[in-house]
């Protein structure tokens, strides 16, 4: 089995999942879009949020960015600072 990808959760995504981080098993060379597909399957309530972005190593990532198990991945629901 591959090492899991660690995913940090914030705001409404943390409340919906009920945890502040997840360990997600993904095939090698999976992309951001693949992660979201798996998360939507495992946590269908996440699909109800209009736009969840993904950050990889503290930078916003495109859907086709390839993920490594050493990356710090975070779900970024719509922001509301200020």
């Amino acid at each position: 089995m591959n090492n899991p990808h660690n995913v940090l959760l914030f705001g409404i995504t943390r409340d919906l999942v009920g945890q502040n981080r997840l360990a997600v098993q993904l095939p090698d060379n999976s992309r951001v879009a693949d992660l979201m597909t798996v998360l939507h399957q495992q946590y269908p309530t996440l699909a109800g949020i209009q736009s969840i972005l993904v950050a990889v190593n503290s930078e916003y990532a495109d859907a086709d960015q390839i993920l490594s198990p050493t990356d710090e991945i975070a779900l970024i629901p719509p922001v509301s600072g200020g």
Binding site: G11, S58, E59, G82
Partner: protein
């Protein structure tokens, strides 16, 4: 100077940080906790940040502001944790040689923070709580 803090924001310290002899204008924006949203009474706000990324994103915004306007010094401070009505959630200060640029740069910084920086607020009502949806 850019940072997140759980402590109350010190306006005088922020002023001291951006005051400089070349500045003819210093403009501040304070975002504060309002007691209502859409006619519903708000009791308090909980702010949460993805700290390292939030600081990086705020730095990008400050860098862009410095590229667009002749900014001499700036300060951006954002609170995290539980804030009560009237408390300051965010402070932005910009010093420039002339006033127009400090107004514009400050406005740009707060508007862009609300769009890109990973900070979230949850409104607590007497009958529940809700994560705030972004507003234009």
């Amino acid at each position: 100077m850019i940072f997140l803090t759980e402590d109350p924001i010190d306006i005088n310290a922020a002023y001291g940080h951006i005051q400089t002899g070349e500045a003819g204008a210093i403009n501040f924006f304070f975002g504060v906790v309002r007691n209502n949203t859409q006619d519903k009474a708000v009791e308090l706000l909980d702010y949460e940040a993805y700290g390292p990324m939030a600081v990086r994103e705020m730095q990008k915004i400050a860098d862009e502001a410095c590229r667009r306007w002749p900014v001499l010094k700036y300060v951006i401070i954002h609170r995290t944790g539980t804030l009560h009505i009237g408390e300051m959630a965010v402070l932005i200060g910009v010093s420039t040689p002339h006033r127009g640029d400090s107004f514009e740069a400050t406005r740009y910084i707060i508007d862009t923070i609300k769009q890109t920086v990973p900070i979230w607020k949850k409104e607590q009502f007497d009958d529940g709580a809700v994560w705030v949806q972004p507003t234009p």
